[in-house]
């Protein structure tokens, strides 16, 4: 299990790095999907199958499809690759990399403080649902209202005059 966890985790990290350095936008998206799927595996290994499957359905299966959909509509060709390559020059890259490195350092110090034992605790669908519709029902309702607002505005934008 621990091996699986670290394997999936490192795949996620590598894939995410590849998302940043890829110049072909479709390949970058594929790496992003890969990263999301490996995060799903991480969830599963940690004992949260429901979260894992939702990660796959919602993020990898629906949101990324919409991303790809938008990319198709934009007709990105060779010129965007050149543009991307321009953004990957060390000169442009230095500042964000520095900031990210500081953040990474902070993260590492925070993590290194606690003990490293991974807790495998199976959380089934029933437990998750009981929590969602019990103590956190207000949050669920708020989130659904947010989604509803998005839905209504999308409907309004798409409506013919």
């Amino acid at each position: 299990m621990t091996v699986l966890f670290y394997l999936a985790g490192s795949i996620a990290v590598i894939a995410t790095l590849a998302v940043i350095v890829q110049t072909n936008i479709v390949h970058a998206l594929l790496y992003l999907i890969l990263s999301l799927l490996s995060v799903a595996v991480v969830f599963y290994v940690l004992g949260a199958p429901f979260a894992a499957v939702l990660e796959a359905i919602v993020y990898a299966g629906a949101i990324m499809v919409l991303f790809l959909f938008v990319i198709m509509m934009l007709n990105l060709g060779q010129h965007t690759r050149e543009q991307e390559r321009g953004w990957l020059l060390p000169r442009e890259f230095a500042m964000p990399a520095l900031l990210a490195a500081i953040l990474l350092g902070q993260l590492l110090t925070v993590i290194s403080g606690t003990d490293h034992v991974i807790h495998y605790q199976r959380v089934g669908v029933l437990e998750v649902s009981a929590l969602l519709f019990g103590p956190y029902v207000l949050a669920v309702e708020l989130a659904s209202i947010l989604l509803l607002a998005g839905l209504v505005s999308a409907y309004h934008l798409a409506k013919k005059q």
Binding site: H27, I33, P49, F50, V53, I57, I71, M72
Partner: protein
Amino acid sequence: MNLDIGSGLTIALILGVVIMVSALLITVERRLLGFWQERLGPNRVGWGGSLQVVADMIKIFTKEDWVPPFADRFSFVMAPAIIMTVILLSFAVVPFAPNIGVIDSNIGILFILAMASLGAYSVMLGGLSSDNKYALLGSLRAAAQMVSYEVFMGISLLGVVALSGSFNLRDIVAAQEGLWFVIPQFIGFVIFLIAGVAESHRLPFDIPEAEQEICAGYHTEYSGMKFGMFFVGEYLGLVLVSSLITVLFFGGWHGPDFLPPVLCFALKSIVFIAFFILLRAAIPRPRYDQLMTYGWLFLLPLSLINLLVTGAIILL
């Protein structure tokens, strides 16, 4: 070796049988379509056309496997592999009989939904990487269609989940011991049927590959075995949807006692496969916007109402 859930022999058998059946469907579908159109269909190769599938295989394997120079090679090669993988993975959670299956997972339905939603990538990448306008149009249509119909597919299943109280397909089958879920969940069944056709983009919902409008849609540029994988993937999807309908609404392996459970399952699935082929023979293809309007304005409210009513009845 013992024939049990998850044993190597079972897994190999299931994989082999599923792929064989899908390949055979190429012939079966052509013959059935022929009968329903007052023709005979292919009946020359082998006894009654039974070896037609071998002939098709030989043809498709010996064809030139061409990648267009303007295509994005990586995604182009990936796309057909994705659909095969994803659908074969979905078969892992399908309970064929009390002791036949690959895994006994308690997130079975969710797993299948996740795989179905990943299946959309195959179609989209195929179209996008071909760098061909018809392929692009096809995959645009596919993306919208599959994402939309996933929604109704998921919601229509929730009635079944609520009745059986589990996401595990084996528990769902076990819960249908007395009464098949098609009776309390008839609306859910109809919606799942429609959404299943749309998910496996077969006629009448084969809008992503509508030959008369956009060549062959997303697989316009494919040839040889890559096309063959799309082709077999479509039939695999058909088998998957049929076996899911059997499992979720028609009691899975339950049946008369003198039949072995796995045979019961197979017979029921075959009926649904034939029904899907009949759909293809009989129903014309709707327009793209009609499909979308139908889905969002009719199926979505219907499935939500179905879920609400089911929940209310369970609570009462």
